[in-house]
Amino acid sequence: MKPGQVEILESEEHGVAYSGKSIKRREDQRMITGHGQYTEDISLPGTLYASFVRSDYAHAKIIEVDFKNALKLPGVIGILTGKDLEGKLNQIPTAWNIPGSDLHVPRYSAIAVDKVRYAGDPVAVVIAESPYIAEDAAEMVSVKYEPLDPVLDMEKAEDRSSPLVYEDVPGNRAFLWKLDTGNVEDTFRTADIVVKQRIVNQRLQPASMETRGAIAEYNSGTGITTVWMTTQNPHVHRFLLSVILGIPEHRLRVIAPDVGGGFGSKISCLGPEAVICYLTGHYGRPVKWNETRRENFLATTHGRDHIQYVEMAARRDGTVLGIRAKVFANMGAFLSTAAPGVPTILFGLILPGQYRIKAIGCEVHGILTNTMAVDAYRGAGRPEASFIVERMMDILASELKMDPAELRRKNFIPASEFPHAVPTGLVYDSGNYVQALDKAMQAIGYHDLRKEQEKLRKEGKLVGIGISSYIEVSGLGPSKVVRSTGFGLGLWESATVRVHPTGKVSVFTGGNPHGQGEETTFAQLAADELQVPIEDVEVFHGDTGMIPFGMGTYGSRTTVVAGGAIAISCRKIVDKARKIAAHLLGVPEIDILFEGGKFHPAGDMDHFRTMADVALAAYGAGGDEVPDGMEPGLENTSFFDPENFVYPFGTHICYVEVDPETYKIRIKRYVAVDDCGKQINPMIVEGQIHGGIAQGLAQALYEESVFDSTGTLLTASLSDYAMPTAVEMPSIESYFTETPSPHNPIGVKGVGEAGTIAAPSAVVNAVMDALSPLGIRHIDMPLKPEKIWKAVMASKQKAE
């Protein structure tokens, strides 16, 4: 098989026509012609423009906000400070209140009142007739501050001597979350070998190409406020905005138009969108705001940012017995929407990785600092977990002088043991880890590559091979379980499928794709389920005014949970349609088969009704009607609550060469074997893998948020934040295995985050393998040549 090819398992009972095929995306037509409609593209007559005055200090008291001169600028309509909004807006809520962790949720306002807590914290908002005037005026606002020492070092923040981000959060500790499978101390005390490593998983900036923005319009005639905004979860935003604004939920309509990427950064409910909704009511005119890139980097949520002290215990024969970690997780200046759950639930529970590890321990200190809030960024907790598991496997292998592939193989949960309960309480749904490892090793020619490495090392070359056998928990998720972890909502998903009288189909999904192509994927899915031509299906999303409450897109959940809901709705429609067809054909329902788009009596292909025939009858049109006692119409709304998460997995292998003079890293090959269960559109699946790997590789080699000693973000532009271009990215050799999930109606697993989870450890393991002859064991990401040079120098000094 060539890279990218997929073995397609066809479902017999449904006579698959579209699923499993790489159908070109229907989204593309509008986007390649410039007719996509993103939030900033929306204009309304009479719009006012908002610009936020933001703090230059990371930590300071606000003494005075002087905007007299700014207000005189022609075209300025008004300027409001935090004090002006007191009593008008409620505090920004946190939705993931993890239990048993002494959680302190500090009071955080959309616009700072007495104190600023990060460089970029809004201090005032200017409203003007044009965006240029709004920005001019914002620059004319003069704020007098009393600077305070910032809290920046997570490891010192809990000391008594540290300044406090919030007076009422002692030790700057938002929470202390512990996980112990009960056998951890004993395991580590009695193990043959324990390897230890301090690992920094650096802070990253999600950097979706479209920044955040909103345009809101209050209609005084209807009393309804409509806001178009860059969101991954419009219903959740409506719910939270309603809480902040006190606008009843049914008078608030949130619309996500085309969204230019999010990667988690458009989940959170932050202040500005709430302020914009308030302002349109206040001024009676539409109000628009769009972040500049600098604002996006300063004040849209960041990701990762852990300091981890990790230990792995094993027997001399390579049996891994335990893993434990003490983790400092930087929460930033406030607890953003999902933030407390990311370094705890989404991190700790997945620490077993693909292995039969019996003892798992974890202690996470959620620390408040004077930096922008940290929340979900593609992978959210799982990359931080997978990285330490996979790094420690390599460190252990090196200690035991075992081949890292064989150490993994020895410890895998075998394919025969699924579903498999791991000691952290999760139940892995399905998997075949050996198959993925073997396929990746075969694809890259692992054993030959090791021989080549040996030869090249003798020539003085620094070449290395890195393996990452990752697992993720995704398809979030079973509501009962996520609620037990303190999440403020269920994580089911909704769908309405409506078959119109002419047999054409509208699908309304509560999932909210923002680039992942589900307008196409879901059309494939619905067309197959209903056995209608794909051209007859249209998929709608993003508008709370026309779609049942949905939870949105994140956690590699959209196809799994929203797709599951669509499948269920379609199947209920087929059930009803079968009854109607039986009635129309005058035969018992039990005799009716549905195949090839036709309802027909078994053994009689000449008499049939199509979905369109049935639909016409369902609406009482065309002289036909439904059976006595049946409701007319042909549509269904369902809420699918999966019984379990799904567990995508795979093995990535990276082959690198490090220049022995410049320490520049070249990726010679990158092989990815991923398993996301059944695939609806393999082209889109592979695209997700590519994009995920790009972000994971960027973390491994290039990207990091850098703050100076005053808490100023130095990487606040795309000139300074090292996001890779095409030149830095290698070609990916992508392969798949297909192990369906038993926990949703369509057998799929998530795929959006897999690459981001897998790639960092594959790349870092490869580079560390390359550097191992120089006596270097670990360097923290990003692996900049400068850092490698320093490590080489230090190693040489040590040797002397």
């Binding site: 070109k24 995306r25 989204e27 593309d28 037509q29 509008r30 986007m31 390649i32 012609t33 410039g34 007719h35 996509g36 409609q37 993103y38 900033e40 593209d41 204009s43 600028l73 022609p74 075209g75 240029y132 005037i133 001019d136 950097a207 979706s208 190409m209 479209e210 085309d258 969204v259 230019g260 990427g261 990667f263 500049t292 890139r293 600098r294 923002h514 680039g515 992942q516 192509g517 082209m683 889109i684 592979e686 695209g687 590519h690 994009g691 995920g692 790997i693 790009a694 972000q695 532009s717 795309l718 000139s719 996001m723 271009t725 095409a726 030149v727 990215m729 070609s731 990916i732 690459g755």
Partner: protein, 164 residues
Amino acid sequence: MSEGSRTLRISLTVNGKKVEGDVEPRTLLTHFLRDKLSLTGTHIGCDTSNCGACTVLMDGYSVKSCTMFAVQADGSSITTVEGLERDGKLSRIQEAFREKHGLQCGFCTPGMIMSTAFLLKENPHPSDEEIRWGISGNLCRCTGYSNIVAAVKYAAETSGGDSN
């Protein structure tokens, strides 16, 4: 400080049509295209000329329209992504981006397509490396670039020397 109401009249050709407009001297070309001409296919992704989402062709050369004043485009001929279709038919490059799944969220795509148009005009048969350098002024966060490189290559192969 605001320049107040002082404006200058500019006239230029955009996607083959003559247009005129009164602009403040500081008005960026990208804002003129988006706000005055409603050509919102040209996007804004940064404020430092790094991302390339705003790339358009000016007299045949690719330029970042967020880094130019509208007055600098006076008298020139501008092509935006909206000007690539001919008689309702997609250009080869647009077709190639769809064919090779060269886009996901679509935000960088118009700029990426315009840079490709310039690249293929200058170098109708680029190597993979030349493609990567040719689009290195445009950032994409979704695709990992592999499929964009494949799309540019496909466009080159199918264009028969026609850079559109």
